[in-house]
Amino acid sequence: MTARQQFIATLLLGVAFLLLFRQLDPTGYQIGLMMRCMILMIVTIGLNILIGHAGLVSLGQAALYGLGAYVAAWLAVKQGVQFLPAIIAGVVVTGVFGAVLAYPTVRVRGVYLAVITIAFGLVFQNILVEWLPVTGGTQGLIGIPRGNVFGISLTRPIYFWVVAGCLIVAFIIQYNVIHSRYGRAMRATAQSENAAKALGINLAATRTLAFVISATLAGLAGGLYTFLNLFVNYETFTFFHSVSFLLMVILGGTGTLVGPVIGTSILTYIAEILQDLQEWQIFAYGFLLAAVMFVMPQGIVGSFSALWERFLSRSRARETQGWPDRSVPLLEILRPGEERGQIALKTEALTLRFGGLTAVDDVSLEVQSGTVHALIGPNGAGKSSLLNLISGFYVPTDGRITFFGASIAGLPSHELARQGIARTFQNTELFGQMSVLENVMAGFHAHYRNSLAETLLRLPRFGREEHRFFSQAHQLLKFVGLADFAEEEARNLPFGHQRRLEIARALALRPKMLLLDEPAAGLIHSEIEDLKRLIRLLADHGITVVLVEHHVEMVMTVSDHVTVFDYGRVIASGTAAQVQKNPQVIEAYFGHGSVMPRGRPMPARVEHSGAAE
């Protein structure tokens, strides 16, 4: 079942369920319970996007939920504002706070972010209790008038469908975001920050978007809750509630489409059963969270999907094609624009020092466009540091770097990616939990034109662009011989295939220059031959290739120009043949002269042991 089918099926089933529910003539209490459940689903759908896709754990979601509720309540009770504007105001305010909460993610993640969100939640709760004139203190705000839209009073039976409608909208938003470049960007930032940056994805902007979406959904839910309950107080928005939202998401299945719906339903049901046993209910939540972590960390939907996947992939063997596939019209996809004969990259007196160590020392070099230029040297010679400087991962201490004449030193990596510098990494930084195809689609991120609004509303341009990049991604996979692996999860690929995928993804950026960091490491001989052909093919198409490599035989046969490093400095530069004869190069690799004390050579074997093998 594809994601799309799952989405539509769930929507239809959900609506059918709600219609059936109403048909059974439920009591006012039961309707209210169902509505509260649906409202919480809106919160958990937002939290699911934040945790499951952007990888950001928030333990303060209850505060955002409460913020939406209190803003709407205060406006309704104290200012006589109507239902719609009150809710919208709640959504806007919460959205702003979501952006505020996102700011720390620029610097911190993981536990540190969790602490900030916990602190935020506690601050909010404290304000609710203390700020008597505005929040009503411990009593809260009471006497909220029933919602009224265009003259229709929102009594429970009617309001039920308003809430259901909002839930459906939230569910659609979740789907539309997840299956778009925004969702891909979020997952990319969660799975490999470095690779995401190198593809032009702005980490801060992506994380802020995730926070804002989850916050606005929580704020919407809060406003809806206000007009359901007709009073609000601080006891609904505590740290414990933030934890229970987290539990709902995890129990259902973090990152799955339907997970939040299932998790919320189950927990609401449990809460109902244990209603009178307050303490046991709390205990049960704690126990359930621990149990899920031990037994079913992927949650219900996640575990089910995993089993289903394993069942499916057992039946299908994938076929690896040869690469590079010359039948693929590379020029159409890549469109390298720059003319030959230019200097693609130039560094002048480039220096990098950190902590007393000079990793790159006064390096000046030039790379001609459309050529293959190799950087070699012993371990610790500074080659990778140089690559990191060129791709914006390190900031130079001194010196200049220009790219086709424009200065780029100190620019951040995602900016350089957008200017046409792509790279691969020593430890293939694939987005392991995304499919092979999705990895390449992430590479196209910087080239999309459609906006967030067009994505959310699924306007025609969205469909056209997705389709176009989809087919181009397939072409790139065909180019590297992985067409049959499109749906496979990237982390399941054999190592050589992972390298191919990383190159295909880098090509999706449509780079003018491609930096390869030890691309041959770990490849077997035939794969290295393929790699050499691919590199030459790219150069023939006008792409400048700079590679750092230890596999010297490969370097010597594929490069137009070789620069040799040692201790951070350039010690030789020229064609492969010239460099191989250079005595300084030989010494750098091999060491020198005699190290033995006073000319006493080592014996061929140790006297008293057995024969050497």
């Binding site: 911190v108 536990v111 602190a119 935020f120 601050v123 203390e130 205990f283 704690g286 972590m293 031990f294």
Partner: protein, 291 residues
């Protein structure tokens, strides 16, 4: 003048609690790069168990060490069962959720069995407050900052002068290389968690005569102390104790000059701001990550 002195004294006492509990977080973090959201609950457990044992007739000087030992066992179990299996990757956070879950269970279990109300722990040092300069404080309360500073020095001596202490620092600095010296990183983590729990329980026992022992006393203290440890940068014992004591003093001053209720809001906001200004903590080490 009397007011300021009062806030200062009670602030030192409160800060002593934060410092001791935060020291526990520091010890655990150093050993395993993970913390423990049940830590606030061992603080509570120490107090509650001591009260229960004393009510059953044990002298407090026997009950307290037993409670501390029991807390140490809990700490060790938490490390072994809840943290170690969920801490395999460098940026794993599974341990956060499992320890939160355990914390919830411990607290609700305590509420169910012990009851939600606080019960006193008698102590001669909590009967007559000492008064001077217009301020009054129970001698019992001053035990806390004294214990915190003593623990700080004790910990430093432990880390600098004993081989086990050096081994713990080694594990914190470079787990793999510590293993190459024959040091078992898992055993070190276990010891660290047990030690941290013991210190946390001690804090709970020391303050119980003043505030009474109840199941709800731990959660907020735990969260605040964790914040304190992170804001301090979890880099060294001194930094953690300094930040802890300062935070206690700041809270009391906020309570005095603004309102009792405002202290959490203002305090946590300050914490957030401090973390934004010093992402690695005030005394923290900048970690250089190789690309």
């Amino acid at each position: 003048m009397g007011e300021i002195l009062q806030y200062l004294l009670t602030g030192l006492s409160l800060g002593g609690i934060y410092a001791l509990v935060a020291l526990g977080f520091y010890i655990m973090w150093e050993a395993s790069k993970a913390a423990n959201f049940t830590h606030g609950d061992v603080y509570m457990f120490g107090a509650v168990l001591t009260v229960v044992l004393v009510e059953k007739g044990l002298p407090v000087l026997l009950a307290a060490p037993i409670a501390i030992a029991a807390a140490a066992v809990i700490g060790a179990l938490v490390e072994r069962l809840l943290v170690r299996p969920f801490n395999k990757e460098p940026n794993a956070i599974g341990w956060m959720l499992t320890t939160i879950a355990a914390g919830i269970m411990i607290e609700s279990m305590a509420t169910i069995t012990y009851g939600p109300l606080g019960r006193p722990l008698p102590s001669p040092l909590a009967e007559q407050p000492i008064r001077f300069g217009g301020a009054g404080i129970y001698p019992q309360e001053m035990l806390l900052p004294i214990a915190a500073v003593a623990a700080m020095f004790g910990l430093e001596a432990f880390y600098r002068r004993t081989t086990l202490g050096r081994a713990m620092r080694a594990v914190a600095f470079n787990r793999t290389t510590a293993g190459l010296m024959g040091i078992n990183p898992n055993r070190i983590a276990l010891i660290a968690f047990a030690l941290a729990a013991a210190i946390g329980a001690l804090a709970g026992i020391l303050i119980a005569p003043v505030v009474q022992a109840m199941p709800a006393m731990g959660t907020l203290i735990g969260l605040k102390a964790f914040g304190v440890a992170i804001v301090a940068g979890i880099a060294n014992a001194r930094g953690v104790v300094v930040v802890g004591i300062c935070y206690g003093v700041i809270e009391k001053f906020i309570e005095g000059y603004i309102s009792s209720g405002a202290r959490n809001a203002v305090g946590f906001t300050l914490m957030i701001l401090a973390l934004l200004l010093f992402p690695q903590g005030i005394f923290g080490r900048r970690e250089v990550v190789k690309v």
